[in-house]
């Protein structure tokens, strides 16, 4: 019997999804439905990926403030993407099928993330402030290098990269979407089987090792999973800085539990719900004025502050 609160969130998500599909449906119904369904699938995928990645990263860093975005994971992905366009040239990059370029970027991303973040987590584990500082510096560094490489590019290549850099659900590539679904399903299965181990890991490295976990190997696997999840969300829509922090806090305050069996699905579903609702507001109410990121970060930030002020988030 799944938790009641999870059923409520899932129900709300399904309602939002249905609303997204059928609101203002007229004219070539099937054509529009197909377009909307692709967009919806991307939104849900990104939501699940961001929610899961954030909870996993907070478990690893033993900290409730840090998220993969704050630590510069998505900036790293964009740097890799830019580097790839730069190295292959605009023409070479365009010749890669979207599926191939996604696979290539994801694999490089996993390698780079594991290499960098395993070292950072190891060095700064005792010192949260240092960890935040390192993360902020790294994020800035990745963004600056990206900006520098973009200066060196010719304008057509630059346009190509820029398309990938901002949150946009308008033009989702179906090849990358299918790959994302497969990746998400794989990671979901792995997490489903290991959720109890994650509960122990959340006690911190020393405690987890004392209880008999091979912590460092698990940390490696989890960093891989986080890198893959960030790749999914960033490849599909670009960076959404604040969403992860928001949904992880909401999931914690709603579930009031340390169990990942509850926290992971809650965060994933809440993130998907916020994205779908945000897109409805953005498309239908704001008539595509402003951007989805602005809608989400504004309303999400407001919600976060209200909950914080009422003492509902700890």
């Amino acid at each position: 019997m799944p938790d009641k609160r999870l059923i409520w969130i899932a129900g709300a998500l399904l309602a939002a999804m249905a609303l997204f599909l059928i609101w203002g449906l007229q004219g070539k119904v099937w054509f529009i439905l197909e377009l909307r369904a692709t967009k919806l699938a991307a939104l849900v995928c990104v939501g699940l990926a961001i929610g899961t990645a954030t909870v996993l990263f907070q478990t690893l860093s033993n900290n409730r403030i840090l998220t993969p975005s704050i630590m510069g994971f998505d900036a790293l992905f964009i740097l890799l993407q830019t580097g790839l366009v730069f190295a292959l040239g605009g023409f070479g990059y365009a010749q890669l099928s979207p599926l191939r370029s996604f696979a290539l970027e994801t694999i490089v991303m996993m390698g780079a993330a594991v290499f960098l973040f395993a070292a950072i987590l190891h060095r700064t584990r005792q010192d949260v402030q240092l960890m935040i500082l390192v993360g902020v510096v790294m994020g800035l560094m990745f963004r600056s290098i990206t900006a520098f490489v973009q200066r060196l590019m010719d304008p057509s290549e630059f346009t190509m990269v820029q398309g990938a850099m901002f949150a946009r659900f308008g033009a989702v590539d179906s090849g990358a979407l299918v790959a994302s679904v497969v990746l998400l399903a794989g990671i979901g299965l792995w997490l489903w089987r290991h959720h109890a181990i994650l509960d122990v890991m959340a006690l911190g490295r020393a405690q987890a090792r004392g209880l008999g976990l091979a912590y460092d190997r698990l940390q490696f696997q989890m960093l891989c999973a986080i890198a893959a999840l960030v790749s999914v969300s960033t490849a599909l829509v670009g960076p959404l800085t604040f969403l992860g922090l928001l949904v992880a806090s909401l999931a914690h305050s709603l579930m009031q539990s340390h169990r990942h069996q509850l926290l992971l699905p809650a965060a994933a579903l809440i993130a998907a719900l916020i994205l779908v609702t945000g897109q409805i507001v953005f498309e239908r109410i704001l008539q595509l004025q402003s951007t989805l990121a602005v809608v989400i970060e504004f309303s999400g930030g407001l919600l976060f502050l209200i909950l914080l002020a009422r003492g509902r988030i700890r």
């Binding site: 478990t59 509960d199 090792r209 008999g212 912590y215």
Partner: protein, 252 residues
């Protein structure tokens, strides 16, 4: 027993421990004492294999600990460190329940529940068991972690300054519990202590560290003297007798 031989450990070229040779007897309470920065906590971390060391060997009952796996070690020794914090919101009973993880891997049996309740009651946590860990005081949190290690029910229990945040009553209760574990259940306890009165009142064996080396070690009654303790802390320590019990005076 735990036998440490020729153990050397340094951080970034600075030696923390050098050439430590010491035996921690089984079935005893061993107090690790010494001034700040002597290497007590480091020695405890090295024994519990939390950090890899440069040179040396640590064995438990003849078994080289560096060659054991984490799950096997978790059934042999429980460790309570000084940095105790959990980021997620966890209730005290659930935390103590993690002590049974090495046995049940997340699927608690009725026997596990019994052990958890026992640990909760031993450390005076029954009334707090449904509270969240981040909503109780430092001393209560510390007791919860000690209860978790106790629920782990291992032959060895390693505690790093467990009296730090505890009030008189709970400090004394903790030492009583440890004494009972040793006397009744044949467990072995290694405990880092700063308050010499607790050391001389409860420990059987003393290992004194100073500047990364063993200053002295042996049965409490033989090695803990006015001279040895005064030299160790570079402070006058006077042994006395208070209501028939040994007492040390070093406050002023």
């Amino acid at each position: 027993m735990i036998k440490v031989s020729e153990l050397t450990y340094s951080i970034a070229g600075t030696p923390i421990l050098h050439d430590i040779n010491v035996t921690l007897p089984a079935g005893r309470i061993t107090a690790l004492i010494g001034p700040n920065g002597a290497g007590k906590s480091t020695l405890l971390h090295l024994i519990s294999q939390q950090i890899p060391f440069d040179r040396g060997r640590i064995t438990m009952g003849g078994l080289d600990l560096a060659k054991t796996t984490a799950p096997a070690r978790a059934l042999k020794m429980a460790v309570v460190g000084q940095q105790l914090g959990v980021a997620s919101r966890i209730r005290i009973r659930d935390l103590v329940g993690f002590g049974r993880w090495p046995y049940n891997h997340g699927r608690p049996t009725p026997k596990d529940q019994e052990k958890i309740s026992e640990a909760l009651s031993h450390f005076d946590l029954i009334g707090l068991q449904d509270r969240f860990l981040d909503e109780v005081s430092g001393g209560q949190r510390q007791r919860a972690f000690i209860a978790m290690a106790s629920a782990q029910d291992t032959d060895w229990l390693l505690l790093d300054e467990p009296l730090n945040n505890l009030d008189l009553h709970h400090a004394r209760c903790l030492m009583t519990q440890l004494r009972e574990k040793v006397d009744r259940e044949g467990k072995s306890v290694v405990i880092v202590l700063h308050d010499l009165n607790y050391a001389i009142s409860w420990a059987d064996h003393v290992v004194a560290l100073d500047k990364g080396s063993i200053a002295f070690e042996g049965p409490l009654t033989e090695v803990a003297t006015t001279d040895s303790l005064s030299a160790l802390y570079r402070t006058p320590v006077v042994f006395g007798d208070l209501a028939g019990k040994p007492f040390v005076q070093y406050h002023r």
